[in-house]
Symmetry: C2
Subunit: 338 residues, 2 copies
């Protein structure tokens, strides 16, 4: 059996997460039982939700167990199979975690999905045509439910979720304004992703300044907002919402480390009769086929050109993950393992 | 024509509202034109939403115009009619404002509604069988959408909206926990309104203490919350919400004067995948007939026994209104004019 390496959660963060919370270890891959396959991971996905699961406190998912392999999405190739539906060489998406190989019981529903890499590169099944893409789709279609002509805003616009959101919203005839950090990301969001405008939040020191920039970019107000970051950005967006605006609350990355970030003026939610909904896409598996079909079409046709930040090798995962939490990635953050 | 008196908004509050913001004046009632009726008001309604309209700033309604009669709901009797559908002596609900008489163009849709006082006292058409009752109905039925066995919480539970909410929720087989200020109100909420429990927020000095009381009263967590007050109460309730809880955001009276009250930990909205919706019942006129029918039935059958705080005479209105904003009323706040 091939030698495996794994990254474990060694201890839980006190405040900000650090590389010291993780441990890289060697491991054996066990022999396969009937119904199992061995997957060699090509890429693993790093996602903000993992930070919440590193805490012991109540979150929307079970906490990541201590001393266990960090959980997360993976794409790879079947290298050994004792399951009739999977052959060596098949490309698959799964949830193999932070390691080079995983043994998967392929009879468990949802544990593996074969994918076609003719028109969509394998890595994109962890991003635009995977969980982040479906996340954008759910928030847009099921919560914001826009009509053509609506003005929509998304934070972390250059990321995996934000970029998919932009393409999906443009396909529905909406005006889409992104918020991202830094001129490079903003240029990418406008020029390559086709957003109507992108605001660099880093040049705005306070809510008032950011809110003024939003007013300029959204002269008809904001009808829908897809929230990935929380904090000052949410405060500023709320001030520009129209009556009956919808907010899909997907992430509040700004508050993942340390103290909770208050919402300054919740009365706007009442004054503007806003509908706000928090969600986790894994609880809405019924939409995945429809969403993945649309997202795959957008990528195949070149209407969605997702960008990736790729770290090399398993040992680089912790540092890349911490960078993601600080917005140092540019597009979908992956770790390349092969 | 009879002599009329009116209370005008004389100037806008700076921070807390005061009696100095209002002015009592004498006025003539003009002669009726065709299609008009003259209504003598028996009761006028005082409601928290009026405070928001006293500000010039953007709110969910047009601001109350300066120098004009304070707007508000009224019940009364037709004393003169130049409209074929209204006869002298008819009892009507309308929006006559803070004055003894109003001239109403009865052809304007929604301007007047004849009511039957056989089983429901006239004053209740301003409370349980009026706007506050329908407000409770909309938040419960259309936003919280409970199933039997759900645990629901309502703040300002002894008030016009809260008391109706309790009766409507009990009729649907829910556990209903009220939050109110002081032992008298809490006793009324439990003993006369039939809530399962009522928490006196005044004995809880901080979020932690109130949240602990909520935990004891809601051992299975909170599935739905009807928000009338905001501030610390909302913070405490959020900490006890179950996954997929629904919050109907109807009022944030705690923040109506002065600085906005922040929401301390908005990430709970995400962690618990909460659906929150702000609403104004006047924008949902389509539900009024169904809601009023149910509410009228609950009052007629004695299942909802609304309590009223009655101030005497138009001149008492400003002081009674300011008391309402501080929770000094006990039940629906009215002004009796006859």
């Amino acid at each position: 059996m091939p030698k495996n390496q794994q990254v474990l959660l060694d201890n839980r963060p006190e405040g900000e997460a650090t590389t010291g919370n993780f441990k890289l270890v060697d491991a054996e891959t066990p022999a396969l039982a009937d119904g199992q396959v061995l997957v060699r991971h090509h890429y693993m996905s790093l996602d903000p939700y993992m930070r919440g699961r590193m805490n012991e406190s109540k979150s929307y998912a079970q906490p990541q167990p201590l001393g266990q392999v960090m959980q997360g999405g993976t794409v790879g190739e079947i290298v050994e199979s004792r399951h009739p539906r999977y052959a060596v060489g098949d490309k698959v998406v799964g949830f193999g975690g932070w390691q080079n190989y995983s043994v998967v019981d392929a009879n468990v529903p949802g544990s593996l999905r074969k994918v076609d890499t003719t028109h969509v590169p394998l890595s994109h099944y962890l991003g635009a045509v995977g969980m982040p893409g479906v996340t954008a789709w759910y928030g847009l279609v099921k919560i914001i439910a826009p009509k053509a002509g609506d003005t929509l805003v998304v934070s972390a616009a250059s990321g995996a979720v934000g970029s998919a959101f932009g393409a999906l919203a443009k396909a529905r005839g909406c005006r889409v304004v992104g918020i991202a950090g830094g001129p490079d990301k903003c240029a990418y969001v406008q020029d390559e992703l086709g957003f109507d405008e992108c605001i660099d939040y880093k040049v705005h020191g306070d809510v008032k300044s950011l809110s003024a920039a939003l007013k300029a970019a959204c002269p008809d107000g904001i009808d829908g907002y897809f929230e990935n970051v929380g904090g000052m950005v949410l405060d500023a967006v709320l001030l520009r919402t129209n009556a009956f605006a919808r907010i899909a609350l997907c992430g509040m990355i700004a508050g993942y480390d340390g103290a909770p970030l208050p919402l300054t003026n919740p009365s706007v939610l009442l004054i503007n009769r806003i509908k706000l909904e928090g969600f986790i896409v894994s609880e809405h598996m019924e939409v995945w086929p429809e969403a993945l079909a649309e997202l795959g079409g957008l990528v195949a046709s070149g209407k969605l050109r997702p960008r990736e930040s790729v770290a090399e090798g398993l040992a680089a995962a912790p540092q890349a993950f911490l960078g993601l939490l600080k917005g140092k990635n540019f597009g979908k953050q992956l770790v390349k393992l092969i």
